[in-house]
Structure formats: structure tokens, C-alpha cells
């Protein structure tokens, strides 16, 4: 599926490097246009942009779901993805979903440990269809973390959750990132979410990076932090939403 000549997997701990990545579908206009992006180990990057700006294509390419046809991508071998939908197998109990594809002896213990981390140990034996939206997304997060990824991709993971659950999940992700220290790429529509969580915000427009700004506000951050104001209007402006 992936053309290996332009797609390499770096040793664990190496940053993600995207070089001159171009992607077209059916000879249409490029969805990604000679894109360059680097993510340092342990760095939390938020990727913003309108629908059709190429966010999802970039994430799918990094996840290995979309082939690299033009350009080069370097990424750690151990990566995990959390999608907007939880994508749990309804016919496997929660803990078996967490360790899906892993077949050694200690899997049950590992599943329990990571479920504890995301606060879901009481639902370990539940069927996925009985979980609430927030619980299912916690399980998806646990499934991503149990593989100890060096690079974690989050594709609008909170978009389908209600506002209160979303706040809890953002806090959870912040805590887990602090603990695991993996590089994170968070695709989101929510400027406030990006400001709350990320070290750096990248705005994508028509397959190219339009804005790339560091977010230096000290952690732990709160939604109402006045330091957000300047960055928020900068990012909203880049997204074509004029607040002033």
C-alpha cells in the first residue's frame, strides 16, 4: 500500500519529518501541496484548518492509511491513531479491544493498567455498544496508549462529544501526554482546544501551511487565560474568521 522508496520509518525517538509532500486525488488539484512539517520528540502540535484543507489527508498519510506518492515522510515505528469515532469492535469486550492484535501473555494486565489510566477500569468487561460516547473515546485512547507510541495522532477525537465531556477529555489528554511524553498531532476545528493543549499551532490552507505559531503560555493552562486572546485572534484570522 505504501510506496517504501519515499516513506521511511525512523528509529524510536526520532521526530516526524514531512518533506515536500504532495498528494492529489484523480489528477485533481493537490490536496497537499509541497508540504513541509517537522515535529520534535514529545512535542504537542495542533493542526487546524477548514474542511478540505488537507488536515485529514496529512494525518492519514502519517498513519500509513494513504500512500506517499510524491515527497517523503519520516516517522517513528510506533504510532497510534485515535479517530473521531471510537472504532471499537462491538463484538469484543472493552479490554480485548484495547489489546487487539497483541497475543502475548501479559495482555490482560496491560489492558487493565491502561484502562485504569484513562479512568475506565470499571468497564473493562463491558460490551462497547453499552459505553457512553465519552467512555468509548476513553477506550479508544487506551487502545492507542497501550502500544506505547512515540507518535500519537488524534483526528478530531472530541468532536462528537458533548461540551462537558469534551472538557474532561481535554484534561485527560493533557495529563496522559505529560505522563507518556510522546509526540502528538491533534487535528481539530477548535481554536480553544488547540490553545489549551498544544505547544504549537499549525493552520493548513489548501494543502500548505499558512500559519505556524508556538504557544508559550505556561501549563497548566485554563480556558479563560487572558494570554490566549492575541493567539486566538491570530489563529481565527488565519482561519478566515474575523473577530474584530
Amino acid at each position: 500500500m505504501t510506496s517504501t522508496h519515499s516513506y521511511s520509518e525512523a528509529d524510536p525517538g526520532t521526530a516526524v519529518i514531512v518533506e515536500q509532500l504532495t498528494r492529489r486525488f484523480n489528477n485533481g488539484p493537490p490536496v497537499l501541496n509541497r508540504l513541509d512539517l517537522a515535529i520534535a520528540p514529545g512535542e504537542f502540535v495542533a493542526l487546524l484548518g477548514h474542511s478540505g484543507s488537507g488536515k485529514s489527508t496529512l494525518l492519514r498519510t502519517l498513519a500509513g492509511l494513504d500512500p506517499v506518492t510524491d515527497g517523503a515522510v519520516t516517522r517513528p515505528r510506533k504510532v497510534s491513531v485515535v479517530f473521531q469515532e471510537h472504532r471499537l469492535l462491538p463484538w469484543k469486550r472493552v479490554w480485548k479491544n484495547i489489546v487487539l492484535g497483541q497475543e502475548d501473555k501479559g495482555i490482560r494486565q496491560r489492558a487493565e493498567t491502561v484502562l485504569e489510566e484513562v479512568g475506565l477500569s470499571h468497564r473493562s468487561n463491558a460490551w462497547p455498544l453499552t459505553l457512553s460516547g465519552g467512555e468509548a473515546q476513553r477506550a479508544a485512547l487506551a487502545r492507542a496508549l497501550v502500544r506505547e507510541p512515540a507518535f500519537l495522532m488524534l483526528d478530531e477525537p472530541f468532536a462528537a462529544l458533548d461540551a462537558l465531556t469534551r472538557l474532561k477529555m481535554q484534561k485527560l489528554v493533557a495529563d496522559l501526554w505529560k505522563k507518556h511524553g510522546c509526540a502528538v498531532l491533534l487535528v481539530t476545528h477548535d481554536v480553544d482546544e488547540a490553545l489549551l493543549l498544544a505547544d504549537r499551532a499549525v493552520v493548513l490552507e489548501r494543502g500548505r501551511i499558512r500559519v505556524d505559531v508556538p504557544i508559550t503560555i505556561p501549563r497548566p493552562r485554563r480556558h479563560a487565560d487572558p494570554g490566549f486572546e492575541g493567539l486566538r485572534s491570530l489563529l481565527l484570522d488565519a482561519l478566515g474568521v474575523h473577530t474584530a
Binding site: 491513531v81 469492535l89 492484535g101 453499552t130
Partner: protein, 280 residues
């Protein structure tokens, strides 16, 4: 004020309503069974009075007595065993064949082109029309009977499982690939369990078809089996034996349906209650 009175009135009746409801359910279930029982009684009376000739149809009491005799002299158990073996082997062949073909055509585009088209053509043929050809090809032993059952039962298994595999959410397959599952692991953990509900629906149809094919196979050319027992009885005008055979077929159909239902409720325990055991 009058509102408050109405409400307390409602609460009082709510307590006694439980009893009335269960009583009503009992009456309605009795009423459901009453009409078949009445029909059987009427049938018995008509036979006893000589209105219905026993050459046309035996009386219910006669059927019970004959059934008992057939069980005691070993005729019924022997023939039942033979029939069950045929249906079981035929169904076994059908499940194996149906699953293999559905996997081939469900999991690859080339496989679908090669396998699906001829099967869709064959499916439109009434399987029973192949009886003369099967006797010519395979003689009159066990082979044509088992193959006839297998032929009829393969299609519902294949069609439903194929549909089940094709309708698996591609997002789940994508997820399996990001988790690094091998092709075999994806088939085992994603495709097969995901298509299981459809497979079981197909299995229930297949079981029904098996009995149908068996009846025909055993009545056309056989030396044993329930169908043969019935055809033999026809020569001696023994309507009681024929009716015992019919009764056995009916009970077999019911039992096999219950077995598939039981499989559905155990294997599909992951479904929310509302979707469990849906009607086929």
C-alpha cells in the same frame, strides 16, 4: 382539587392493574391455544362418527397410537436416525462450501468476479429440478440425497455471509490496519465476527431448506428415512403413518429453528437487547 382526586384514583388502580394484566395475558394465551385444540377435537369427532374416512385421514388418537408403536418397534428411531444423518451431512457440506465461497468472494474483488457470478446464476435454478440429473449422476445411494441437501442449503449461507462480509464498516478495517493487524488477524477478529449475524440468518434459512430437500430426496428414491417410511405407508393406505411422518418433520423443523435461535442469543450477546434474536 379535582386533579388531585383523579391522580390518587390512578395510583390505586395502578396497583391492582398488575394482577388484571397477568390474568388477561393468561386468558389470551389460553384463547390462542383453544382454537387448534378445538380443531383437533373436531377432527377426532368427525373420524369417530365416520364423517371422515380413515382412508383419507387417520384420527388423532390413531396417529398417537401408531406413533407409539413405531417408536417401540424401532421403525421410527431408525428412519429418523437415517434422515438426521443425511440432513446433518448435507448441511455440513453446505456450511463448509458456503463459508469458503463467501470468504473468497467477500474478501477480494477478483474472487467476487470469479465466484459470485456463477453462483448468482445457479441460485435462480430451482434446486429440486436437479433431482433427475442427480440420480443419473450419483445413482440412488446416499450421495445424491446428501448433495441435494447441500446444494439447496449452500445458497442461503453463501448469500448472507457474502452480504455480511461486504457490509463490514470499512472504518473498522482501517482501524485494524493502523493497529498493525495481519490479514489473517483482520479476517479472524473483524470480518468473521462482524458477518456472524448475517451468517446465522443464512443458517436458519439453510436449515429450513435442508428439511425441504430431504423430504423430496427421500420420497423420490430411498430405502430408508422418514420420507421413505411415508411413501411406503402410501402403498398400504396407512394415513396414520404418513401423518406421523408429517408430525416428525414439523417437530424437527421447530427444534432446529430453536437451536439456531439459541446460537444467535449466545453468540451475539454483544448486541443491545433490542436487536437480539431478530425475526428472519
Amino acid at each position: 382539587m379535582s386533579d388531585a382526586i383523579t391522580l390518587t384514583g390512578l395510583y390505586k388502580t395502578a396497583e391492582s392493574r398488575g394482577k388484571t394484566q397477568s390474568l388477561r395475558a393468561l386468558v389470551s394465551s389460553i384463547r390462542r391455544y383453544m382454537s387448534p385444540v378445538a380443531l383437533v377435537c373436531l377432527w377426532q369427532v368427525a373420524c369417530s362418527l365416520g364423517v371422515l374416512s380413515t382412508r383419507l385421514v387417520a384420527s388423532p388418537i390413531q396417529i398417537v397410537v401408531t406413533g407409539w408403536t413405531l417408536v417401540h418397534d424401532g421403525t421410527l428411531p431408525f428412519n429418523l436416525g437415517v434422515s438426521l444423518l443425511r440432513a446433518g451431512s448435507g448441511l455440513g457440506v453446505a456450511i463448509t462450501l458456503g463459508v469458503v465461497l463467501a470468504l473468497i468472494s467477500g474478501l477480494s474483488r477478483i474472487g467476487e468476479d470469479v465466484v459470485d457470478a456463477p453462483l448468482q446464476v445457479l441460485r435462480t435454478l430451482p434446486a429440486l429440478a436437479l433431482v433427475p440429473l442427480f440420480i443419473l449422476w450419483f445413482g440412488i445411494g446416499e450421495t445424491p440425497k446428501i448433495l441435494l441437501v447441500a446444494l439447496g442449503a449452500t445458497f442461503p449461507i453463501y448469500l448472507n455471509l457474502h452480504k455480511g462480509i461486504r457490509s463490514i464498516d470499512p472504518k473498522l478495517v482501517e482501524m485494524a490496519s493502523t493497529l498493525g493487524l495481519s490479514r489473517w488477524q483482520t479476517i479472524r477478529d473483524v470480518f468473521l465476527p462482524g458477518a456472524l449475524p448475517d451468517f446465522l440468518t443464512g443458517l436458519r434459512y439453510a436449515v429450513g431448506v435442508s428439511w425441504l430437500m430431504l423430504v423430496v430426496a427421500e420420497q423420490v428414491n430411498a430405502e430408508s428415512g422418514i420420507g421413505h417410511m411415508m411413501m411406503d405407508a402410501q402403498d398400504f393406505l396407512r394415513t396414520d403413518i404418513i401423518l406421523v411422518g408429517l408430525l416428525v418433520y414439523g417437530v424437527l423443523g421447530l427444534i432446529s429453528d430453536q437451536i439456531v435461535r439459541f446460537l444467535e442469543s449466545t453468540l451475539l450477546a454483544w448486541r443491545p437487547d433490542g436487536r437480539k434474536g431478530r425475526k428472519a
